[in-house]
Symmetry: D2
Subunit: 349 residues, 4 copies
């Protein structure tokens, strides 16, 4: 077994990452060591790369970044029972304490003591990662390496879609970054009868249409709330999937939902949001759902079912494939918004 490995690290509290040699992590009795093959890049990684206000508050260098990946198990702890060396796996990157009320009642994804790989502990932009057995997800042979590497963000989309419940319903997605884009085929495969996408970036709207959005709109279009209502018999859509984190999108998105409808909020506003709760939520009898992470592991099974059955095809989501040492190019693509999803090949050099 190698003792040193290559990894992308945030080494100091400043913008950028450094590719360097670090020690291969060691594992405890209930852990698994995984040799990473492919890793996805998430907007969160870009925030850490750019070292924005959130990242400065949350991330404590030195830290290996990255949380979307797949690879092969190369070592298992003594008490590990369900995972074997050689297993082809992805993993849930939110590590819960498994002992609290929430973890003991099927809500480990909102455990108050969650540690996130690539943020609170070392992550997946590296040749190896140590993960608790509990978090490991064995990949079905019918699922490709690339799709396996992005089960994490795809799972965000699936979690949000399934929390809202879209079967036979009309849906607006506000914000079609990579998770919002994935939510389009997911919502269609999960039964949505009508899917509208809204964003401020025309290029994303084109991609939204290609991925199956029935209509796609610029968020800045005048009268958009009225147009969405007109397209839904004057009632408004049944479901809002909010994936932008923009206060303005939340406010207008809530206006687009019909009385009695559902709004699932996944996007994270960076500031407080000023809302007319009376008109937007209370009088309308709305159900508003905060969505975080992925249900362990109901979301993973749902994601697997959708991908394995061929009901969703993720190929057009993955717009770029790069090597680990091409990370500067990757983050430049993230910065310009030119990429939907970038997958790094960690084994290539």
């Amino acid at each position: 077994m190698a003792t040193m490995m290559r990894a992308l690290c945030k080494v100091r509290p400043e913008p950028g990452f450094v590719e360097q040699e670090v020690r291969v992590p060691s594992i405890g009795p209930t852990d698994v060591l995984i040799r990473i093959e492919k890793a996805g890049i998430c907007g969160t990684d870009y925030h850490i790369y750019a070292w924005d206000h959130w990242a400065q508050e949350r991330v404590h260098p030195p830290r290996i970044i990255g949380h979307e990946f797949m690879g092969r198990v190369v070592e298992v702890g003594d008490a590990v029972r369900s995972v074997r060396v050689g297993d082809r796996v992805s993993a849930e990157g939110h590590i819960a304490d498994l002992t609290c009320l929430l973890c003991r009642t099927g809500q480990a994804h909102i455990c108050e003591r969650l540690k996130i790989i690539g943020v609170d502990r070392d992550g997946s932009f590296a040749e190896y990662i140590a993960m608790p057995e509990y978090n490991v997800w064995k990949l079905d042979p019918a699922i490709s390496d690339e799709f396996g590497a992005i089960f994490d963000p795809l799972g965000n989309a699936v979690h949000t879609v399934m929390a809202a419940g879209v079967s036979t319903r009309s849906v607006v997605i506000t914000g079609v970054g990579s998770v919002g884009l994935m939510a389009i085929p997911v919502a269609r495969a999960a039964g949505a009868a009508l899917v509208f996408a809204i964003d401020i970036n025309p290029a994303k709207l084109d991609l939204a249409r290609r991925l199956g959005a029935d209509r796609a709109f610029l968020a800045t279009q005048p009268g958009l709330v009225d147009e969405i209502r007109a397209l839904t018999n004057g009632d408004g859509v049944d479901v809002l999937l909010e994936m932008s984190g923009s206060g303005a999108a939340i406010d207008s998105g809530l206006q687009m939902v019909r009385n009695g409808g559902t709004a699932a909020l996944l996007g994270i506003p960076s500031d407080n949001v000023n809302l007319n709760l009376a008109e937007r939520i209370i009088f309308k009898g709305l159900t508003v759902l905060g969505v975080n992470g992925r249900l362990m592991f109901e979301t993973w099974y749902q994601t697997q079912a959708l991908v394995k059955s061929g009901r969703i095809d993720l190929r057009s989501i993955i717009t770029h494939r790069l090597r680990l040492d091409e990370f500067e190019e990757a983050f430049e693509l993230m910065r310009t918004g030119a990429a939907a999803k970038i997958v790094l090949d960690v084994t290539a050099s």
Copy 2:
């Protein structure tokens, strides 16, 4: 306005129908008179035609038969507010009292005092029918006459699929008569990741495959329960949609469902069913749902959403189109099982 009309009647307690001239029905202040254009034939109509045991108990001649239809409103009662002369409509054929606990809490479809058109009061194999305003469903212009005429059985399929909840799930449909066949594209459109069809009729299985079943099986195939489990990673399917009414199908269908799964029962067994409740339901922690009719009118909105969006295409379901006076041929097709859905053109002659 005409005072007499043609209608298919059960005139005496014996097999067969008679086409005859009868009076056009009169309407009360909250009723609507509809000129029927197209009418679907249901298995129930065949039971009444053939005058089986159930029909002898339930139907009291003389009675006009039929309950699936679309047409145009030609007259409205004084207190009618939401329907106008000229409206193109279908209608919910289950007429509830609207005053009981069930009707007052959104469960009118299981009102204890339901009257069914074509069974308990005069039906739709006629040039005109009187319906309460409450039961009338205005057809969206995007929906064809033929599809509008079969919203009733399609609604049975939608009600069953939506009651069970199929989004991202694996589904077995036992019994693919016309409603079971419709349930295949409905389940797929509503988000099912995997749909298996089972029947005793190979011709229906061919149709099931064409309508989108991932796999279709003869009910008599040895080891079928094991095969279904093998196809679902050894767990069993998430959902059973029981549409045969066969005790044997119910028993084996329940065995095919995974622990914690859902079984929605729409098919009506003609006799008692002998079940190992401990093994089939209790230890498995199953949810078993009795399904009857259509939710008024949530099912109708869901059905409209699926058809209007193009998510389901019913053309291959409608296998035969005949005139009202060709009813003998129609019921012969019903008898032999050669037809999926037959639509009668009531205006043609």
Copy 3:
């Protein structure tokens, strides 16, 4: 039948009401005329009396005020089937159009074209009121006149409690005005294992304790969020019932709810509320429910079940009983907060 009646009217756009003689309302074919016996006074009535900003925007004089009442049916329209002269009744004061998507799918309480008696059309501080048959609720003989007169606000409490789901759960109620106070015995009867009440008025907190709150707290108490969490094993309560409409209460109430918990919002903020959606709702995976009115008529059946079974006793809620002509005294009691619920005897003089 009398042709004139006494009524409390807002006659001009200014504070106060005038008791005057007006014509007894006439009824249409689907309406019912009710002789009012007892009427409850709601905070909304006080807003109209005081003629605050909301009232000036919403209410168009001349208007008879009041929406909580019981009485006896004295006349029914020609098409009325389920109500008879002599029936002892209360009524749902939100009059829906009964023809829209919401009304046709069991959500008439959030119909976009709701008219509210005593606000948008004439109300119940009068000797007679005309109501649609659909809105009339026949009172069970086991329920007293006084309790029957306040089924409307009690129904608000029941609707909120049942929407959130409190069975075996811990509950915080923020704001114990008359509906918040009623929510205490309702939550306990509906199964809450722990009920905390919070208000800015110490007198209300005393009443809250007498009505069954396990603990009652001043909203201004330092460290209250921490104390509530400490009382719930560090997790926070399962359920927030927000009945104050205060932005500060909403913000701190959301902090008191555990991750994965439920917040039902009934209180109406008069201004926008500035919220940290990320921390209060999204990361916590909260379910936030807007609650309005009462489910027609599931809430009424639930309310009846609770009152009739004796599981809740409303006697200590009704703090004052006055005649219609003592309305000035009543609204002075409302102004000072000295009253929980005041019931007017409309037949006395």
Copy 4:
């Protein structure tokens, strides 16, 4: 640490138990060793004692019997993190594999590979028991030893009540053995507005009344279905909790439920049940729930909430307290039906 301990064993395939000295069990890295203080006797234990057909099929001697208990942790495995020596605990006696679809999606209670202590592996009628850390439940200091010892059967009652949902509803409990009896105060505390108990044993009906049943009926009373409907305004009850396992009780219980109601089945029929599915379930639109074990660990939290809050008082459920060596007397009490719940003091001698 002791190496030998006293235990009640089924030593041979024949009726009766033998109290004997056996080795204290050893533990693995994720296990906990508990010194048992109090243990409850369940009807299942009596079946094994009497060596009925079910027991002969399921239990393979030699086996230590018993599955309801509380005690103190005396040793923990190397990988145990959340339990410490000295902790006062009860435990979930159903040991799931924790790796299958069901265990990974919050349904470990219906894992297909469940092992039950006292049935499939050694149980709690002994001085020590080894349990996986995952199954251990730390007892709140506010909960007495005796109540802690019967969290398992109480949890069956809570699971069934909460699965059905009783808040504001009317409930029939068929079969008031010890779990059925516990279900009475549980249903009331969980919000049931009306609770009816039915049994064939008049002594149990007396106890049912003392525990809070609004009415209690002999199952053999003529016209009982009609009487239950008459007591519920002609509609039938909202909820059936079936705890007898009797086919006749299931059939009549289903008749007592209103259309659209819920039936939760916990009692285990020893034979097939012959049911008119059309009339009992399908036309009625019933929801039938198979209930097994306890949700891990939502049911345990709910049970704790109910007991700790004082909403239910179990003292009158525990009718007998005996020493381990008085087991013959205990099982004689079980045989005659004279006992509700018997708790053995394992430390006494």
